[in-house]
Structures are given as C-alpha cells and as structure tokens.
C-alpha cells in the first residue's frame, strides 16, 4: 500500500517534471528557434511619407530695364505676381514661389548697352551673377526702343527670360510672367504628371509626353547603329567615335552628375527593312502607318546589352539601290524634312539617303556619312526621350543652344520632375513592401533590407526638406539615393526564398509533430492534478 502510494507520488513528480520542462524550457525554445528573423522597419515613417505633400520652391527675380517704371509700379507688379503665382494648387504637389521685383542695376544697364545680340546679353547677365544658381531665375523686362528688341518673350540658354515692354498697363505684365514661369520655366504640369505616373493613378489615358520619355534610371545605354543593307554596292562608313565625342559627349558630361549615359556604336551589314516602301515618281516613301512595323524586325538584329539599364537605340538606315531615294511622308502626304521618326521609350530611326553608284560601276563605292547631320537628329531625339522638350511656340521663343544641347533651366525642369518622380516611386515601393511584409508575417526581413529601407526613408525626408528649401540639386541627389535604396529593398531576392503558406496551413505541419507528444504529457498532468486534489481532500477533512 505504501509502495503504491510512493509509486503514485513518483509518477506525479515525473509528470510534473516533464510538464515543467515542456512548458518552461520546451515551449520558449520552440518559439525562439522557429521565430522568423525580422528587422523592425519604420512603418509609421513610411505611412507618414506616403501622405506627405511634396512642395518645391522656386526663386524668381524680375528686373525691369525700363526707365519709366516707378517704385510704385514695381510694387504693384510684385503684388500682382504673387497673386498670379499663388493660384490654385494641386493638393499633392505644391509649388511655392519666392519673388523679388526690382529695377535693373546700372551694371546690368551697361550690359544692355554693350551687347549686340540677345544671346550675348544672356551670357553677360548670367556670368555677372557668377555661376547662375539652379532653381533661381531672372526675368528681364526689356524696353521697346533699346538696341535689342524682341517681339515676344524669349527664354535664354541659362536661367534668364526676356520679355518685351508691355504696351500699356505695366503691372499687368505679371500675368504673362506667371504664365511663362508656370508653363515653361518650371513646367508644373510635367512635374504633376511625373508624380501621378509614379504614384500609379492611371485612370487617365497617358498623353504623349508621359509615354515618350524613359522612366528614371541611374543609367541609360545609348546605342548608335548604322544599318548598311548592301555594303557590296555602297560601302557607307561613319566616323562614329569623333562624331560622338564632338556632339554627344558634351550632353553626356552635362548629365554625368545626375545620371550616367553609356554610348556605344555598331554597324550592321546586310540588314534589310522588312517593310516594303510605296513607290511614286521614282521615289520611295513610307506613310506613318508603315513605320511601326519597321522597328520590330530591326530591333531583333540589334543585340542585347549586358546591363539592365533602359536602352535607347538610334539607327541610321542608308537605303539600298532598289529603294533609293527613300522618304517618310507625314499624315498629309508631304515629305518629312527631317526624314526621321522615333518611338517612345525606344529610340529613333533616321533614313539617310546616299546616291548609290550606277549599276555598271565596278565594286563597292565608299561613302562617308556626315556625322553632324546624324547627330543633329539623334541629339534631338535623345532630348525628347529624356524629356527635355521645350519647343518655341507662338507665344514665346527659345534661344538656340550650343552643342551642350541642354539649357540650364531645362536641366532644372528635369531635376525637379525626376526628383518628384523618385520621391513618389520610392514612397509607393516602400508602402507596397510594408504592406506585403505586414500581410505575410513569416517573410524573413534581413538586416540589409532593413538598412536599405531606413536609408530610403532618411533620404526621402531629407529630399523633401531640401526641395522645400529650394536646393534642387541636393534634393535630386537625395531622391536618387532614396529610389535606389527602396528599389533594392523591394526587389531583394531574399524576400522570395521560401514559399509562403497561409497561416492555417501551418497546423498541418505542427499537429503530426506535437499531438503525439502533447497527449501523454497533458493526460499525465491531469492525473497528477487529480492525485493532488485526492491527496488534498483527506487533509482538509
């Protein structure tokens, strides 16, 4: 009897011991070892950033060369300008203008006297202020009777805008200035479009401008290709190397602080067009409807670069004897002067007619192409594809650029819209990533993902502040850092290392393991509890 009681006691102690080990050691150990490693991410910052309005600041200085304008006039103009520029604002992207209106200094008046052309005046005025600063624009009101007279507003190559003296109502010129600044100099609509595209509000059909330009990337690959269908008849050559260094390198260098452009060239021999041109009066031509079908067969021959940057292709096609001369007709059926076309986000094709030798000429005839004409076409197309488009219109003129091909204020527009685009992209990526990680709780979040996310968040906050302060260049560089980090975090391969089951499927894994073990443990604990109750009872009696 005593032995049995002692046995029972031992049993109970054993059961309690096992139960204790299971609960106190086993359970936490299991919990700890199966825990998924997840770095804590700044979820609240990501949410705040997604809701933050983007505001950019632009400095405008209006300087009047007019001797007639009084202090009072300038004050009224200043007030009008503020009213005009304030205006209606989109809730998500806001522009803020800091304006100064004053009369031109004597030095500046001397420049006006001295310079022979508007171009000269433009560069004199810009050099005067030292390096003209990004995001700081000067609007000059030129008198009607001066040596340089302009009939309509003109944009300079640096950061100057010239407007002619208004016929009457001097302060009323504020409307013109505000219009020019908003639509051309700052391009508010482009900034907003970039933002909306990056944010993914895509209920509207995208317009040409949005579709044309390649999206932001830290680098672009530009390939120049000469297509020579019959080198056995007409052996065309080009001096691509010196052409590129003469006309394209200044452009590339100009952009080198902001994005890297890698330029390559190649020659394709015996490559024909697969579309047949139409013939009329011994001339061959393509209509705009034929052109889309021309690109694909050519693209198949272009080869594929090793980098994953967006590629832009520029092709020169020299028609063979059987299709010379070859032209592109526009929708109205007239010959296109440039004889070139381009496709959004892809590149362009330029048809370069070279008179082929007569059929009885012996052997291939050599011909060297004019690189300057080719580069005129390509640089124009490259400008369009990178969204540096600022055509002259009926309302304003634009001074022609040199070989750098980018005007200072155009570069500002690019930086501004790309900065806003990057901020929107980065914030959308992080938000989507946070959502994904929140939804699937057993995705491993490694340290480097955590670091990338934190870098991106910090860079975004900094970029927003810099943009608000008007430091465009630094804001762009920070936004680029943010977008690179957030893309890297979003596309990190480690986020997909396991296949993720829904939570309920985990039971299917654990039940076969835990049920056979837990059953005897729990039942013996229950026995122990009953024994303890039984042993307790007599005592109280």
């Amino acid at each position: 009897m005593v032995d049995k009681e002692a046995d029972k006691k031992t049993n109970v102690y054993a059961a309690v011991g096992v139960g204790f080990v299971c609960l106190v050691v086993g359970l936490p150990l299991w919990w700890k070892t199966t825990e998924v490693y997840r770095v804590s991410l700044p979820y609240s910052d990501i949410d705040t950033l997604a809701g933050t309005k983007i505001q950019y600041t632009v400095d405008i200085i209006v300087k009047s060369f007019l001797k007639t304008s009084s202090e009072k006039d300038l004050a009224v103009l200043s007030r009008n300008l503020l009213d005009q520029l304030g205006g209606k604002q989109d809730a998500l992207v806001k522009s803020y203008y800091r304006t100064i209106v004053k009369a031109a200094s004597t030095e500046e008046l001397q420049f006006l006297e001295k310079s022979a052309s508007l171009k000269e005046l433009d560069s004199l005025l810009s050099n005067n202020e030292g390096q003209s600063k990004p995001n700081k624009y000067s609007v000059f009101i030129l008198p009607r009777n001066s040596r340089i007279s302009i009939s309509k507003p003109t944009f300079g190559c640096r950061r100057n805008v010239f407007i002619p003296e208004p016929e009457k109502d001097f302060p009323g010129v504020a409307v013109t200035i505000a219009h020019l600044v908003k639509d051309s100099l700052v391009r508010e609509s482009t900034v907003l479009k970039r933002y909306k595209t990056a944010r993914g509000t895509r209920n509207l059909k995208p317009d040409k401008e949005t579709m044309r330009s390649v999206r932001f990337s830290s680098g672009y690959d530009v390939t120049l290709t000469l297509v020579s269908p019959r080198p056995d008849i007409l052996d065309v050559q080009w001096d691509a190397k010196s052409g590129i260094s003469a006309y394209l390198t200044p452009f590339v260098l100009r952009m080198s602080n902001y994005t890297s452009i890698v330029v390559k060239s190649q020659v394709l021999f015996f490559t024909k067009l697969h579309t047949k041109p139409k013939k009329e009066n011994n001339e061959f031509y393509f209509t705009p409807d034929d052109l889309p079908h021309m690109i694909n067969p050519l693209e198949a021959k272009l080869g594929s670069p090793a980098s994953t940057n967006p590629e832009l292709n520029f092709l020169v096609y020299v028609p063979s004897r059987s299709e010379y001369p070859l032209y592109i007709h526009d929708a109205q059926g007239t010959k296109l002067e440039s004889n070139a076309f381009f496709s959004p986000q892809w590149g362009g094709v330029y048809i370069y007619n070279v008179a082929p030798p007569s059929p009885d000429t012996e052997g291939p005839v050599q011909h060297t192409l004019d690189m300057s004409r080719i580069m005129e076409v390509f640089v124009t197309e490259l400008r369009l594809l990178l969204n540096f488009n600022s055509p002259a219109s009926e309302e304003h003129d634009v001074l022609p650029t040199g070989v750098e091909s980018i005007r200072d204020w155009e570069l500002d527009v690019w930086l501004r819209s790309r900065c806003v685009e990057n901020l929107a992209t980065s914030s959308a990526s992080l938000k989507s990533l946070a959502q994904l990680l929140g939804k699937i709780s057993n995705i491993v979040i490694k340290d480097d993902i955590g670091n990338e996310v934190k870098t991106a968040v910090a860079a975004m906050q900094l970029a927003l502040d810099l943009l608000r302060d008007g430091d465009l260049k630094a804001a762009y560089l920070e936004s680029r850092r943010a977008v690179t980090a957030s893309e890297k975090a979003f596309f990190d391969p480690s986020l997909l290392e396991l296949l993720y089951f829904p939570e309920d499927q985990k039971f299917a894994i654990y039940i076969p393991l835990f049920l056979p073990i837990s059953f005897p443990v729990i039942s013996s604990l229950w026995q122990a509890y009953k024994w303890w109750r039984g042993a307790d009872k007599p005592k109280t009696e």
Partner: protein, 357 residues
C-alpha cells in the same frame, strides 16, 4: 518572300480603315476639348511575353509543342526575343525517344518545326520552378541574372502570360515536384501591379480546370482566358503516330489556327479571340474573365498582346549643329583620348597545352 507582297496589297484597305478611325477619334477629341495630337494611338509602348511549359517527360510532348507554337506566333507578330521569357521544362527535341531529333512538331503533317533554328529558351529543364516563375514576374531576381532572363517591364508595357501543363482545381503542377496555387499567382500579379510592372496583362492558360487559376485574380487591367472551366478536363487534339505521342492540345491548336491568320497590322480583336474554340471543337468550355479589364475586349486589337506595334512620332524639327564643326567642339583639351595609354608590351597568344607525343 510572298508574305511582304501580301502585306503590300492590304495597305489601301488599312489606310481607309485608319482614316475612318482617325475621323472618329477626331470627333471624340473635339467633343472632349482635347487635342487629339496629344495622344498616341495605343496606350502602351512595348510588349512582353512570358511563355511557360511546366511539365516534363516524353508523354508531355504536347505541352512543349504548345508553348513553342505560341512562341513562334508572337515572334512572327513582332515581339523580339529580348522581350520574350520562354520557360520550357523539358528538352523534347533532344529526348532519346524522339524519332526526329532536334525537331518539335505541333501537327501530324509535320510541316512546321516549331523548334526551328531561332529559338531562345530562357529557363530550361529544372530551372523551370515555381520560385523562378514568381521571381521573373515580380522582378525579385538575384543581381547576377542576365538581362535576357528578366522581365524588364514598366507601367507602359503589355504582358502576355501563357501557361500550359497539368493542373487541377486551383493549382498548376510544375515539373513533378511542386505546384503553383491560384492564390500565389494572383498575389504575384498584385505585386506586379503595385510596382507598376504592367499596363495591361493577358493571361492565357491551357490546362485541366484552367479557369480556377484566374478566379482568384484581384489586380486591375488583367484579361484572362482559359481552355476549360472548373471541373472540366482540357483535351489534346491529335496524335502523331510517327512520333507516338499527342502533339498539341485542343485549345492551343485552335488558338494558333486563329493567330496564323493575324498579321502585324491586323485589326482583329481580343473579342474575336475569345470566341475561338467553341465547345464543339474543344470539348471543354473556354472560359474568360473580363471584369478586371476596363476596356471592351471587342475593341482591343489582338496585336496589343500578341504582337508589338509600337507608337511612333515623326520628328518635325531638329536642333542645328550647322555652325559647329567637329573641331570647334572638340578642342585638344576636351577631346583627348580617354582610353588608357596602350601598353608597349606586344600581345601574343598563350601557349597551347603541351600535347603528349
């Protein structure tokens, strides 16, 4: 050589058609007060295709033939190899049981070798896994992945996803080891949508109970078609006695028949494509899903997904370099050769391995 002639003859008709469309859109433009010139004819800039065969082994010859036939069609219609991700789980052309090595045929007549001389398989054999497929779609690939194995799409790209293999209710089997569930697939599309990796997607699947694979989709702008409804089997079309196996599935067979009559400038619509393979031909019921897709499929060109008709713009004015000669811009300081000075050491071929004599 006769094909381009055919295209040439069709031009007049097409011009007339586009004129009508042009007039129509002009009226719309005027009504909305928008300048027509601000928009392109189509609202995507490039086309991509992800074509997947998920099953291996000789008796699944038809699945490889299916995917290679679709590959051939989209390539003929203009999607370049660089924009096609082709995943083939087994190499039928080199299978020891193939009586005609290095060929794959999709028809008993053996007229077209779909494994022709220009096939670029991006993922082959055991590389075709659920993980790799999801990685390709979502873009979460290791940094070392070459460009040709990546889906480099953006918010202006249309994607065609074609899958074939053995499936069941809510899954598609990959190889013999694993399967992708419809939930995983739907989540992958949602990830793509959130990261703006497609503009519009067309999902096409030829397998048993194929409809179940797209029922879970919840992301916008997806158009989907499947060879069979839930509970139905998808059947093969015919056997080639010379090869000894079924060579193509019914739905793909009739879809190809339709696609063969499509030219890159064709005006056939997705609506017409949905009517391909009625029950009398397919035995299974072709199912499609349009509720996620905002447009009317009857007005969407088939070449929006199966071809690649790019938007073009004419270049109206160019900047002028006329007064700049190469010497002007290329002064001695700015245009010095950037390449490193040539090594004076003469280059020579390395010695061959010593051969035993």
């Amino acid at each position: 050589m006769s094909a381009p002639m055919g295209i040439g003859l069709k031009f007049n008709k097409i011009n007339f058609l586009s004129l009508c469309i042009g007039l129509f859109s002009l009226t719309i433009g005027v009504l909305n007060g928008i300048e027509v010139d601000d928009f392109f004819t189509s609202d995507h800039t490039n086309n991509w295709a992800v074509l997947v065969d998920t099953s291996r082994f000789w008796f699944n010859y038809r699945h490889v033939a299916n995917v290679l036939s679709i590959y051939r069609s989209v390539k003929r219609l203009g999607i370049p190899d660089s924009h096609i991700i082709l995943m083939v789980a087994d190499d039928m052309a080199c299978n020891p049981r193939n009586p005609r090595p290095a060929t794959v045929f999709n028809n008993v007549n053996e007229q077209i070798n779909v494994y022709g001389d220009d096939v670029e398989v991006d993922y082959r054999g055991y590389e075709v896994t659920v993980e790799n497929f999801i990685r390709v779609l979502t873009g979460r690939l290791p940094p070392s992945t070459p460009r040709s194995k990546r889906l480099l799409t953006d918010e202006h790209s249309n994607i065609l996803v074609y899958m074939t293999g053995h499936g069941g209710d809510g899954f598609l089997k990959f190889q013999d080891a694993e399967e992708i569930s419809s939930v995983e697939l739907a989540d992958a599309f949602e990830q793509m949508w959130q990261k703006k990796r497609y503009h519009e997607a067309f999902f096409m699947i030829d397998t048993c109970q194929a409809e179940s694979m797209f029922l879970k989709f919840y992301s916008p702008n997806i158009l989907a078609v499947a060879s069979s409804k839930v509970g139905e089997d998808s059947l093969s079309h015919h056997v080639d006695p010379a090869i000894g196996v079924y060579v193509i599935d019914r739905y793909t067979y009739y879809a190809l028949e339709f696609l063969e009559n499509v030219q890159p400038n064709s005006k056939k619509t997705m609506g017409q494509f949905f009517r391909v393979c009625p029950k009398s031909q397919c035995v299974s019921t072709v199912a499609f899903r349009t509720d996620l897709y905002p447009k009317d499929p009857n007005k969407v060109l088939i070449t929006d997904f199966f071809g690649s008709v790019r938007n073009v713009e004419l270049l109206t004015e160019t900047i002028s370099f006329k007064n700049l000669s190469m010497q002007d811009t290329c002064s001695k300081e700015s245009c010095v050769e950037t390449s490193s000075p040539k090594s004076s050491q003469q280059l020579k071929y390395a010695d061959q391995f010593p051969m035993p004599t």
